[in-house]
């Protein structure tokens, strides 16, 4: 029994270790000016996408439900937190505590939406979640693309019409200016904070999996009918997984929003393309494999940048690499081959295999 405990435990520790070592090494090299600017500009993005990929893995890999709208939750986290920090900046308050509050706001607002969407949808059997989340993601993106939010001496003003319809008084300012989004939110997202958040995310999800609730979530993924027959409440456990996932997607959004000078809800940022990209991270890294998700984020984020020199062939090569890796990690033939290889390796080392 202790061996299995150890296996899960070791798996977790390896991931923690990799994150910390990767951070320290990159940071030291970065301070020495030895990290190419191409990569040093991506450090926060690595963490942002790792967080959302791990979050989605909780839904897709651990809970066995398909969500095609996780970029929507990221969008909610991004805007809700940036509205807050932009407003606080207007009031002249800019410090790390504001960012911590912003992170909590992003997580909670996103979790709330996850919960509200999850209640009706997760009761249904089948792929309803995929359809509803897809629609949700698009709606959220379009709302934030159309909304005008301003502040002046009379307080907040909101409209979906146009900038002038807001009728801001002298001395007022736009928080969200329609398609131009939020400009000038403080750039709080540092590599250190992003790494800490990734660490928290990984910590929470590993410890969620290896406990009562996590076992119930996985049991219902493996066999819903058997799960019900031993008294597991399907809606409750699916909802827990989905809400926690939405919260971390929101946190990824907070990081994203405070990494750039402007925040817009474009198709590229938060559309279904983004949701699919996140899904690709998860599938490529392996369903339910937390470490795999992170590694696949790093690889797939660097790859297009490295291939930039190849111009037109860039996306072609990207696609080919994707297919090859997909086959390598997911084909039963290759999986068996790797299993045998591992067995032989263990035998050579004299390890007894179960």
């Amino acid at each position: 029994m202790n061996r299995l405990k150890n296996k899960k435990f070791i798996d977790k520790i390896i991931t923690f270790f990799i994150i910390i070592v990767a951070y320290v090494v990159t940071d030291v090299l970065n301070n020495m000016g030895m990290v190419p600017s191409l990569i040093s500009g991506l450090l926060v993005s690595f963490c942002t996408y790792s967080i959302i990929a791990v979050a989605l893995n909780l839904v897709v890999g651990i809970s066995g439900e398909l969500s095609l709208g996780h970029a929507g939750f990221m969008c909610i986290g991004a805007f809700s937190s940036a509205i807050f920090t932009r407003y606080m900046k207007f009031l002249g308050v800019e410090n790390i505590y504001i960012f911590i509050i912003a992170i909590i706001i992003g997580a909670l607002v996103s979790a709330l939406f996850g919960f509200l969407i999850g209640i009706p949808v997760l009761r249904l059997k089948g792929d309803y979640l995929a359809i509803v989340t897809l629609a949700f993601g698009e709606i959220i993106k379009n709302i934030f693309n159309a909304i005008y939010l301003g502040y002046d001496e009379n307080g907040f003003h909101v409209t979906l019409k146009s900038a002038s319809a807001l009728k801001l008084k002298e001395g007022g300012f736009f928080i969200i200016k329609g398609p131009q989004g939020i400009t000038g939110a403080p750039r709080y997202s540092t590599f250190l904070i992003a790494t800490i958040l990734l660490f928290i995310c990984v910590f929470v999800i590993y410890n969620l999996i290896d406990q009562k609730t996590g076992r119930a979530i996985m049991a219902l993924r493996d066999n819903r009918i058997a799960g019900e027959s031993i008294g597991l409440n399907v809606t409750k456990y699916k909802l827990i997984a989905f809400t926690i996932s939405a919260a971390f997607a929101g946190i990824a959004g907070v990081l994203y929003a405070h990494n750039f000078h402007t925040l817009t809800a474009s198709t590229k940022n938060f559309g279904y393309n983004m949701s699919i990209t996140i899904l690709v991270f998860v599938v490529l890294g392996g369903m339910g494999n937390i470490r795999g998700s992170i590694i696949s984020v790093v690889v797939l984020t660097i790859l297009p940048e490295i291939l930039r020199g190849l111009e037109g062939y860039r996306m072609l090569i990207y696609a080919i690499v994707l297919i090859v890796v997909m086959i390598f990690t997911n084909s039963p033939f290759v999986i068996n081959y790797r299993k045998n290889l591992k067995l032989k390796f263990n035998k050579a080392k004299g390890v007894k295999h179960e």
Binding site: K7, A219, D222, I225, S229, L232
Partner: protein, 255 residues
């Protein structure tokens, strides 16, 4: 054996389309009894289990578990009331380890919440330790404790059946329903299974209703039987009497 009645079913009926899958089904099972439900293929045996566990809602009839009517409750609530089951076509949590299959069925009986688990508070370690112990004891009853860390799907068939019974027992039921527990087992495995079922009855004071085609097992351990044919009770009573009933012989041998 005490005379306390654990399960009492009166005129239970359900039909699918025009087919009367189960009609006017009655049964009463006493505490610590091992009761057999037999009948030809398609007779409606599994449907009875599905009615008892809330998978289907009966069109008529009542199901009293220790005197309480449980008709209309869903699967989850019925399990909490005290009925656990296995499935004719095995349904394990196939990607989980053997011990986790059992531990997850213990969920109701160990109280720590999700947050305590995430933060790894003392309560988590205390409960997990006890859960490990109880799960391990259950695996020992079925002599599969040495396979605790194996992924369920990699177990040989006979052991998968045993694990399913262990999992059902982990919910601490009052009544255990076994749907063809010996299916696919060889003679030795079946013999061993019979002993295990008796052991479960004695160690856990369990009341057991089982569906089985293997007559050796039925004769060997069932005290009473009910025979179903075309959804109706053909005969019921003491095992030997029922098996010598002319109607039953006719139904089984097809004249």
């Amino acid at each position: 054996m005490s005379n306390e009645i654990v399960l009492n079913v009166n005129s239970l009926s359900i039909s699918f389309g025009g087919l009367k899958a189960v009609s006017d089904f009655n049964i009463d099972i006493k505490k610590k009894e091992i009761y057999g439900l037999i009948g030809p293929n398609g007779a409606g045996k599994t449907t009875v289990f599905n009615l008892l566990t809330g998978v289907y809602k009966p069109e008529a009839g009542e199901i009293l578990l220790c005197g309480e009517n449980i008709v209309g409750l869903d699967c989850v609530s019925i399990n909490k009331k005290g009925i656990a089951r296995t499935f004719q076509n095995i349904r394990l949590f196939s990607n989980m380890s053997v011990i986790d299959n059992v531990k997850v069925a213990l969920n109701e009986h160990y109280k720590y919440n999700t947050l305590q688990g995430i933060l790894r508070l003392r309560k988590y370690f205390e409960c997990e330790k006890k859960m490990d112990e109880e799960a391990n004891n259950l695996l020992k009853v079925f002599s599969i404790d040495d396979l605790a860390n194996v992924t369920a799907t990699n177990l040989p068939y006979g052991k998968q059946r045993k694990l399913e019974i262990a999992r059902a027992l982990a919910t601490r039921p009052k009544l255990l329903l076994l749907d063809e527990p010996a299916a696919g087992m060889n003679e030795n495995e079946t013999k061993e299974l019979m002993e295990t079922i008796l052991k479960v009855r004695d160690e856990f004071d369990m009341t057991i209703l089982l569906i089985e085609h293997d007559m050796k097992l039925v004769k060997g351990i069932c005290e009473r039987l009910t025979v179903l044919n075309f959804g109706k009770v053909l005969s019921s009573g003491n095992t030997n009497d029922v098996l010598n009933d002319k109607e039953v012989i006719k139904a089984y041998l097809g004249d």
